[in-house]
Amino acid sequence: MTRLALLLYAAAAAAYLWHFVYRHPATGRAATALLAAAAVSHTFVLGMHTMLVGHMPFVGSSNAVSAFVWLLGLSYLYTEMTTDERAMGAFVAPLLVVLQIIPTFGAGVVARPALLETPLFVFHVTSLLFSYAAFALACVLGITFLLLFKEIKAKHLGFFYARLPSLQVLDAMNVRAVTIGWVFLTIGVIVGLFWVATARVASPDDARVQAMSVLDPKIFVALVSWCVYSFHLYARRAIGWSGKRSAWLSTLGFAIVLLNLLPVGFFFTRSHNFY
């Protein structure tokens, strides 16, 4: 079933790319339908895993990536429905496919350790995953903004000019996504701090809990990404960093998020290595 979800994401990505290049309306509608089917099958997979282990399968890097893909897919579908804009699918769907390969061929789900059986942990992880999904959308919007910006500046109005919405729309959507992501990131970090405080008392001998400090790469990089996005919002309001600079910042921010989600989450952290 996990492989079916991956196949559907791949089919949706192909359809979105086809629609982006050839702008065939029926292919665009098919792409949306395929992505919706992928999200439904992914929901089913997550539901089955929840029933299997008795909790939402968000623990561990592989499962976190799966949940991230699921949330990003749903967030994108919501964005598409509310803005009637399908061009971003050509950028989001391939990202979903690449990331979904990790949980499809990675470790399966197992019951979480007792340490994580607390609502604070669920709230912490869920908030962060929501923020990552929003940042991914902001990154895609930022990249497309830069591509369109470059074409208009270079006065060769071609491929992206004909396919993307206006710079103003991309910029407005970008800041909306960053704001939503920042709110969830802030909530996730604060809840995480509370959880660490309670975990230190409950599990004084657990090495992972003791490693939970700013010095741990996972936490350090998460705080760096919070600083980048906070600066993004501050610079936009206080010094008028909209448009191109805003697009670069959201791209940089998501690169840091991806760094934290994949290499740091898999190989470097001492505090978040639950599997």
Binding site: R23, L157, P165, S166, Q168, A172, S242, G243, R245
Partner: protein, 447 residues
């Protein structure tokens, strides 16, 4: 029944002739009524734009129909036939269908792919519909043409990209700012091209518009032309403030050196705190220092840039013509198949009635011999004979409906008529020989 089109267009007639045969809104209902009375089925649509005047109708005889329509156009517009006839073209059946589909798709336009023509075709149909001069054939034909126009635009890039300097500027502004509603516009200089561009921007609800000119009278005159929306800034002293306040700036002065220097724009950019500024410099020599375009969030397009955009769009559109023509050909074949199938209907109906009459007559004749049968057995015999008749008629019906052209339908229908002595009153009912060319004065049209 044949479809017939007669008209003039920018391909065949100079503007003097096109002006003379254009149908005004006031005269159009009278013209339609006269044409419908003269047509084979009471159907007529007139498509009249600045580039064409075309009459779509039906006729039994194409040659006579063309002659009659030429006479009608000559008399209605009071243009001599000798003067008009060399510029007239006529097309029938498939060619007429293809022509309308090409027109609706923008393939026959002066600027290939122009978007306005589809709306004009719709308006022409609406006027005919209001005058009750459309019937099943032209209703279907024109609705089909709307779908063809839409399909060509959605499946090919034929209508994409502005092909005039002022539209290119407006398209760029939309691509930068999205909605132009309420976007402040600054006009530096009061030239004709800047006025045209400002009008296009106004059509997108952009504004308020501020005009700066060395001569207050020029600025005021342009402000008046722009419908009183503009306000006049008398002189250059305020330009820095206005530059910072505007999102779109159009410059067209006669100044020999750039009036908007990089330093000036840099200053405005800082005041604007990074909000994008779109500068359209249509003056020669240029009004804006070219290096200003290197500034972030400043989009500077001069006249050569805009002409380059237009040339790229024209070239891209011409690359889409073959795809658009393929769509038109495909839809023409589909429409003709529908039309021929419809033409064959009276023959098919008559054939079925004839066979059914024979079947019933034979069953009646054999009734005494079948009297010993049970009611169920009689019903079965009735069913079997009915099925035999249906199977016998299936292939000829399909073949008749699949005939490719009008002449074949007529020839086959005549053959079947003779072979089976069909009663085909409905095929003959209500026919005339084609548009009579009755003078419009006699039909009650205004002179």
């Amino acid at each position: 029944m044949r479809l017939l089109l007669v008209g003039v267009s920018h391909h065949t007639a100079p503007v003097e002739i096109r002006e003379q045969v254009a149908f005004s809104k006031a005269k159009l209902p009278y013209a339609l009524a006269a044409l419908a009375r003269a047509s084979a089925t009471g159907e007529a649509v007139v498509l009249s734009t600045c580039n064409r005047a075309e009459v779509y109708t039906t006729a039994d005889d194409v040659s006579m129909g063309r002659q009659a329509l030429a006479g009608f156009l000559s008399q209605f517009h009071e243009v001599s036939l000798e003067q008009l006839d060399p510029h007239l073209y006529s097309q029938a059946d498939g060619d007429a269908v293809r022509h309308l589909f090409r027109v609706a798709a923008g393939l026959d336009s002066l600027v290939v792919g122009e978007p306005q023509i589809l709306g004009q075709v719709k308006d022409a149909y609406q006027a005919a519909s209001d005058a009750r001069t459309t019937g099943p054939t032209l209703n279907k034909l024109f609705h089909w043409s709307f779908a063809v126009g839409k399909r060509v635009r959605s499946e090919t890039g034929l209508g994409e990209g502005a092909v005039s300097v002022s539209f290119a500027a407006v398209s760029l502004a939309k691509k930068i700012f999205g909605q132009l509603e309420g976007r402040p516009v600054l006009l530096v200089g009061a030239g004709e091209m800047s006025k045209l561009t400002a009008q296009h921007l106004q059509a997108q609800a952009a504004g308020p518009i501020t005009i700066v000119s060395r001569t207050v009278e020029h600025a005021q005159a342009l402000a008046d032309d722009l419908g009183g929306v503009a306000t006049v800034a008398a002189g250059w002293s305020e330009i820095d403030r206005l530059l910072a306040a505007a999102d779109i700036v159009i410059t067209a002065t006669g100044a020999p050196v750039p009036v908007l220097t990089r330093a000036r724009i840099e200053h405005a950019r800082r005041t604007r705190r990074g909000a994008p500024l779109f500068l359209i410099d249509i003056a020669v020599p240029r009004d804006v220092e070219p290096s200003a375009g290197e500034l972030d969030e400043v989009f500077l397009y001069d006249i050569d840039d805009l002409l380059g955009v237009v040339a790229e769009n024209v070239s891209r559109r011409s690359g889409q013509v073959a795809s658009a023509e393929a769509v038109v050909d495909e839809e023409t074949a589909r429409f003709l198949a529908w039309l021929r199938a419809r033409e064959a209907v009276p023959t098919v109906v008559a054939l079925r009635e004839r066979f059914e009459a024979i079947r019933k007559a034979e069953l009646d004749r054999l009734a005494p011999r079948l009297s010993t049968l049970t009611p169920e057995a009689k019903a079965r015999v009735d069913e079997i004979t009915r099925l035999i008749v249906e199977k016998l008629l299936l292939t000829p019906t399909e073949q008749l409906k699949a005939l490719g052209d009008h002449d074949s339908v007529v020839a086959h229908s005549e053959a079947l008529n003779r072979l089976f002595s069909l009663a085909m009153q409905e095929m003959r009912a209500g026919r005339s020989t084609g548009p009579s060319g009755t003078p419009p004065g006699d039909e009650g049209a205004p002179r």
